[in-house]
Amino acid sequence: MNELLEPFVRMLENIAAPAAVRAVEQGGSADAMWAEIASSGFLDALVSEEQGGAGLSLAEVEQLFGALGAHAVPLPVGETMIARALLAQAGVAAPDGPIALATSALSGQVVPCGLVADHVLLDRGDALTLVAVADLQIAPLGIHGALAARISWGNAPSGAVLPRPANGLRPVAAALRAALIAGCAGQLCTMTSNYANERVQFGKPIGRQQALQQNLAVMAEDMIAARIAAQLGCAGGLDISLAAAATAKATTSGIVPRFAATAHAVHGAIGVAEEYDLQLLTRRLHEWRLADGSEGYWNELLGAKRLESDASTLDWVRAEVFA
C-alpha cells in the first residue's frame, strides 16, 4: 500500500468497521464518522493546492474510491470529494457536510447516500445547483439497510449555481461508481476465497473442489477487469470523456450480477444472513450497478458514439478511451 492509501485505509478500518456501517444503516448518527473523515483532510484531495486542497488527480484518488467501496463506507465520501473539487473550480465555498450527486434532471430519482447527505449537487441539464436537503423531499426507498433515497422537488430548487461540465455530472459520477464497484469486488474476492479455504465439506475445504475453483477463477478475472476498467475511467481527470466513463461503468456494472451471485453461492446460506458481513458488500454492488446508468445505459451510449466513426475499433478506443 502506498503512502496516500495507507493512512486512508487505516482511518476507514477505525471508523467504518462492519458494526459502524450497520449502525448508520439502521438509522444511527453518522456525525462522528463524518467528523473523522472531514478532519483527515481527504475530502479536498481533488481540490487544487492553490485552493487549499491536495491537488491530486482523479487517477490518484481512484484508489481511495476503491477503499471506500471495499469498506462499505455508509457516507458519500467520494461524491463529496468530487463536489468539493467542482465547487472550488467555480469559486463557490463548500459546505461542511456530506454532499450526494444527483445526475439526472428528473425529480424522483434515486440518489445513493441520499439519506445521509446534507446537500445534493444536482445536475439540472444546463447548470449544477448545490441544494440543501432541507429544500428537497428526501424519501427512504423502503429497502432494508439502504441509504439511497428518492429525491424530489416541487418548484425549481435553489442554491449555489455552478457551471456544468461539458458532459454533465453523470460521467464523473459513473467513474466513481466504477471505482467503488472495483474496490468492493476486490474485498469480496478475498473474502470469498478465504471462506472457500476455511469451510470444510466432504472432508476437505470446499475451495479444493475444481468446480468451485473454476467459478472463483472467473470471479478473480471479473475483479481484475473491473479494477482496470475503473482505473481506465479515472485516468483522464475530472473532465472525463464519455467513452472512458462508459467503458468503466459498463464493464464494472456488467460484472456485478455474476460476481455477486458467485460470492453468495460459495458462501451458502450464511451469505444472506443479516449478521454476516457479505451482504454489506453485495447490496452495495447491486446499488452501484444501477446508479448513474447501468451497463445497458453506457453500452448504448458507447455504441452510438462508436458508430459515428469510421475508424477501426483499436484506433477508436485509443483516441476516445485511452487518450
Partner: protein, 382 residues
C-alpha cells in the same frame, strides 16, 4: 489480491513505433482479402517475416548483442498489436520471436544464443514448440517422448508430438521430453531439447483442420540423434522453463485480437446499412475490447519489470479468448436477425471461418480449465 496487476501506460517512445509498423503493413499486404487476414497469427509467409526482420520489427525484446532491438516488451506490444489488428501473416516468425528466443536467452548456452537468436531476429529461422502428445494434452507432465544419452554425449530421441503449430514449415522444434524417470515422476525428469527437423528419423504429417487449413501437424521421432548442444538449460528442469515460457505465450495481445478484424468488418457493415439497433451490443464489445487491451498492457508491464506474470497472463488469456469466441456468435446472430439485409460474401466467409476455428482459441496455449486452475492456485485455493 493480485495487487500489482494494475493499469499501466504505453510509454510514448514505444507508441512512436506505431506509424512505422502500420505503414510497413499497409505496403506489404494491401489487397489481402479479409477471410485470409482473419487467420492472423496462423497466416504463414516467410518473406513477410524476413521483411519485418530487415525493418527491425523482430527481436524487439532481445539484446543488440544477439541482433535484437533491445526495446522491451512495450515496443513488442505495439508492433504485435498492429500486426494482429491488420491480420498480417506472422506465423513464420511468431513462436521464435515470442518464446523461443527469450527462452534461449534465459536458459541457453552462449553457443545456442549465437547460433539461433540473430537468425530469429532476421526472421530466418522458424521454430515450433513440441508440447502436446497423443496421450498428453492438458496433462503435459505425462509426456512420453524420451531422449537417452548416447555414448558420444549427445541424445537419442524416440516418440511423438501432435498438434504442433507449423511443424511442417519449421526449421527447429523446442520439445519437452522425458530425459529420466517415468511418467509417474510427473514434472521431474523433463527437459527441453532443440531438434533439427531436417534430422534423419523425423517425420512430419500436417493435420487438416475443419476450415481446410493445415496449420498444425504430428511429428514422429525414430532414433533421432542430436548433439550434446541440443539441451536447453538444465537437464530435468524443463518443466519450470516451460512454465516461464508459457507466460510469454499467454500474455500477448494475440489472445484478444483473433476476431478483431471481424468486429471491424461488422461495424463497417452496420454503418453502411445505417442501422443503430445493435448500438448497445457494439458498445459492450467496444468496452470489453478496451478493458482487455488495458489488461494486456498491464500484463506487459509486469514482463517489462522482468517478472514472469503466470497468473496475470492466464487471466488475460481466459478472458481474452472468451471475447474472441463471443464475437462470431453475437455477430452471426445480428446479421441473421436481419435476413433481408445483404451481407458482403467476404464478411460472411470471415464470420464462418472464425465460428468454426474459434473453439481452438481456448485450447491452444493452455485450455480454459487449466488456466482457471492456475488462477485458483494464485488465489491460494490449491
Amino acid at each position: 489480491m493480485f495487487d500489482t496487476f494494475t493499469l499501466a501506460p504505453l510509454p510514448p517512445e514505444d507508441e512512436a513505433i506505431r506509424p512505422q509498423i502500420r505503414a510497413f503493413i499497409e505496403r506489404e499486404i494491401a489487397g489481402m482479402p479479409l477471410a485470409k487476414r482473419a487467420r492472423t497469427w496462423m497466416g504463414f509467409d516467410p518473406e513477410f517475416s524476413r521483411a519485418l526482420g530487415r525493418e527491425g520489427f523482430l527481436g524487439l525484446t532481445l539484446p543488440k548483442a544477439y541482433g535484437g532491438q533491445e526495446r522491451g516488451p512495450f515496443a513488442r506490444f505495439v508492433v504485435v498489436e498492429e500486426l494482429l489488428i491488420a491480420g498480417a501473416p506472422v506465423a513464420a516468425h511468431w513462436i521464435a520471436d515470442r518464446q523461443s528466443a527469450p527462452l534461449l536467452l534465459n536458459f541457453g548456452t552462449e553457443h545456442q544464443r549465437q547460433k539461433y537468436i540473430p537468425a530469429i531476429c532476421r526472421g530466418e529461422q522458424i521454430f515450433c514448440i513440441g508440447m502436446s502428445e497423443p496421450g498428453s494434452g492438458s496433462d503435459l507432465a505425462s509426456v512420453r517422448t524420451r531422449a537417452e544419452r548416447t555414448p558420444a554425449g549427445g541424445w537419442l530421441v524416440n516418440g511423438q508430438k501432435i498438434w504442433t503449430t507449423n511443424a511442417m514449415h519449421s526449421d527447429y522444434m523446442i520439445a519437452l521430453i522425458r530425459t529420466s524417470g517415468s511418467a509417474a515422476d510427473r514434472n521431474a525428469g523433463l527437459s527441453q531439447l532443440i531438434i533439427d527437423l531436417k534430422a534423419p528419423g523425423v517425420t512430419i504429417r500436417p493435420i487438416v483442420d475443419l476450415t481446410g487449413d493445415a496449420h498444425f501437424a504430428e511429428v514422429f521421432f525414430e532414433n533421432v540423434e542430436l548433439g550434446d548442444d541440443a539441451l536447453v538449460g538444465n537437464e530435468g528442469e524443463g518443466w519450470s522453463q516451460v512454465v516461464a515460457e508459457l507466460a510469454f505465450e499467454r500474455s500477448g495481445p494475440e489472445r484478444i485480437y483473433s476476431s478483431a478484424l471481424l468486429l471491424d468488418a461488422w461495424v463497417r457493415h452496420v454503418r453502411a446499412v445505417g442501422r443503430t439497433d445493435c448500438a448497445a451490443l457494439i458498445g459492450r464489445l467496444t468496452a470489453e475490447l478496451a478493458t482487455l487491451r488495458a489488461m494486456s498492457i498491464a500484463c506487459t508491464a509486469r514482463l517489462a519489470l522482468g517478472e514472469s506474470p503466470v497468473v496475470e497472463a492466464s487471466i488475460v488469456k481466459d478472458r481474452g479468448t472468451t471475447f474472441e469466441q463471443e464475437l462470431p456468435v453475437v455477430i452471426a446472430d445480428d446479421l441473421a436477425a436481419h435476413p433481408d439485409e445483404a451481407v458482403d460474401p467476404e464478411l460472411y466467409r470471415t464470420l464462418t471461418y472464425l465460428t468454426h476455428i474459434s473453439p481452438s482459441f481456448s485450447l491452444r496455449g493452455g485450455t480454459r480449465e487449466i488456466l482457471r486452475g492456475i488462477i485458483a492456485r494464485g488465489m491460494g485455493l490449491r
